[in-house]
């Protein structure tokens, strides 16, 4: 029958990974578009985007079977 524990795991993992990705991107967007831009803010913003990029790369890693088998 239905595997409820797997379902809960999938639900939680999707929730947290999507939330993390969206938060990082939003934060990056906010940091680099703020009016009084300082170097620190820009660096932090770019760092957020880099983390998002890593998330996307991890997604590609998961999609391509040759990479993780």
């Amino acid at each position: 029958m239905i595997d409820w524990s797997a379902f809960v795991v999938v639900a939680l993992v999707s929730l947290f990974s999507a939330a993390a990705l969206v938060s990082l991107y939003s934060l990056g967007l906010r940091l680099v578009t703020v009016d009084d831009r300082s170097t620190a803010r820009t660096v932090a913003g770019v760092a957020c985007f880099v983390l998002c990029g890593l998330g996307v790369l991890y997604g590609i890693y998961l999609i391509v079977p040759a990479l993780h088998r």
């Binding site: 595997d3 797997a6 929730l15 999507a18 939330a19 969206v22 991107y25 998002c52 997604g59 999609i63």
Partner: protein, 432 residues
């Protein structure tokens, strides 16, 4: 190699199924970037097609069973004959065409399962179908997928709006468009690696059953190549009707929501395929969009459209099963039956295609792209463009924006209805 009539028919039909699968599912990845203007329609479908093509070559894992355990096939169970696969494919293709005509996103794999179930019941009796697997693999996930994706999409959208909220009214949320390109590309790539494999599996199993390939062998290169190109071509053709439904028919999608929805779809699809709880991409994508719609203040969701989509999900299995069963019944007549099946199938598919040409009448194929582009414009943008005189669509015969699926009314919009009157509650809206 002994290529009998049935093998040729199955391969041709399987490839056509692959094609319908492609254009049915373009919307999953590309509806929201097209709706928000992150990518131009033509660019979006091209990117999706290329990623589907690449994805089809990337995956080496080909389905070992045609039905994924729904039919008790193999040792101790029923032998799935090429005739059954053929009848099942007819059921799947016909149902895919009908849902496409109605602009409803429905799962292509469920249609395939349904067709096979119908064919198996006729060909081998009711006992050949494992209904507990039907419940756990098709019916319950169809309930759970939109719930989970809706929750994820809602949370992501709320987070995005909260984090980017600013006191001054200047909004940077257009920047979410760039993010959309990446997230939707991931969805397209994942689609290519999953869905082309199904057709490859069906063709390979048919070749094995006919003795053209040894038992347990993988798909020959030509099967991989033609399947990859069939799904890519289907994706490139673009199911504009379904893109319209998902990009504008459910709710008006802003860049922030589009990004959040695509991120949720990606996360949920990847988590479900890697943590052992399979969910349909189509259902996840629809759920994410509804969740994103709920997450923006002032946005409206067309619940009647959402209801129709959910109804279609539940009808998919029995409907394609019914078509598959009839096709299997005719196929029992032997070769003549197969030919009749094939002819009827061609006539039905051709008829649906002609019907689809007629509805937005006086409209050439090339125009569909512009229709898709203008029909998913937000009302405000459409109004602005119209003031500038840049959009004279929808011209007579071109579908109006936010076409509801219950458009019993002819789709000819009197020009000028594109700009809906300003709504008073628009002030309260999150603007992007």
């Amino acid at each position: 190699m002994d290529l009998t009539l049935i093998v040729v028919l199955v391969i041709a039909l399987a490839l056509f199924f692959d094609f319908t699968n492609g254009f049915h599912d373009t919307a999953n990845a590309m509806a929201t970037p097209i709706a928000t203007g992150a990518m131009k329609p033509k660019v979006a479908v091209t990117v999706a097609a290329i990623l589907n093509l690449v994805g089809a070559f990337l995956s080496t894992e080909v389905a070992k069973t045609v039905s994924g355990g729904i039919i008790r096939e193999g040792d101790g169970g029923v032998q799935i004959s090429p005739e059954m696969i053929f009848a099942g494919l007819i059921g799947a293709v016909v149902w895919n065409m009908i849902t496409w005509l109605r602009g409803l996103p429905s799962s292509s794999s469920h249609a395939l399962f349904g067709g096979l179930i119908g064919a198996a019941v006729v060909g081998a009796g009711v006992s050949s179908v494992d209904f507990s697997v039907v419940l756990s693999k098709v019916i319950l996930p169809a309930l759970l997928a939109p719930l989970i994706a809706g929750l994820v999409g809602y949370t992501a959208t709320r987070l995005a709006y909260t984090i980017t909220r600013r006191r001054d009214d200047k909004s940077e949320r257009g920047g979410f468009r760039y993010g959309q390109v990446f997230t939707s590309s991931l969805v397209a790539l994942a689609h290519g690696t999953n869905d082309a494999q199904k057709t490859m599996g069906v063709i390979t199993l048919t070749l094995i059953a006919s003795g053209a390939l040894g038992a347990g062998s993988g798909p020959p290169l030509w099967v991989v190549v033609v399947c990859a190109f069939a799904i890519a071509l289907g994706t490139y053709t673009g199911g504009w009707r379904i893109i319209q439904t998902m990009g504008g028919g459910l709710t008006e999608v802003k860049p922030t929501q589009g990004f959040a929805a695509e991120a949720s779809t990606t996360a949920t699809v990847l988590a479900s395929s890697h943590l052992g709880f399979a969910l349909s991409t189509t259902q996840v994508a629809s759920g994410s969009i509804i969740g994103a719609g709920l997450g923006r203040r002032g946005s409206k969701i067309q619940w009647s459209t959402a209801g129709k989509i959910v109804a279609a999900w539940f009808i998919t299995l029995p409907a394609s099963a019914a078509v598959g069963a009839v096709a299997a019944l005719i196929a029992t007549l032997g070769t003549a039956g197969l030919v009749v099946d094939a002819l009827v199938g061609v006539v039905v598919i051709g008829g649906i295609f002609l019907l689809s040409r007629r509805r937005p009448h006086e409209q050439g194929a090339a125009m569909e792209v512009d229709v898709a582009a203008t029909s998913v414009l937000s009302r405000r943008r459409a109004r602005r463009l119209e003031k500038k005189g840049r959009v004279d669509t929808p011209a007579a015969g071109v579908e109006a924006p936010f076409v509801r699926l219950d458009e019993a009314v002819p789709t000819v919009a009197p020009s000028g209805t594109l700009a809906a009157p300003a709504r008073s509650e628009e002030k309260k809206e999150d603007d992007r």
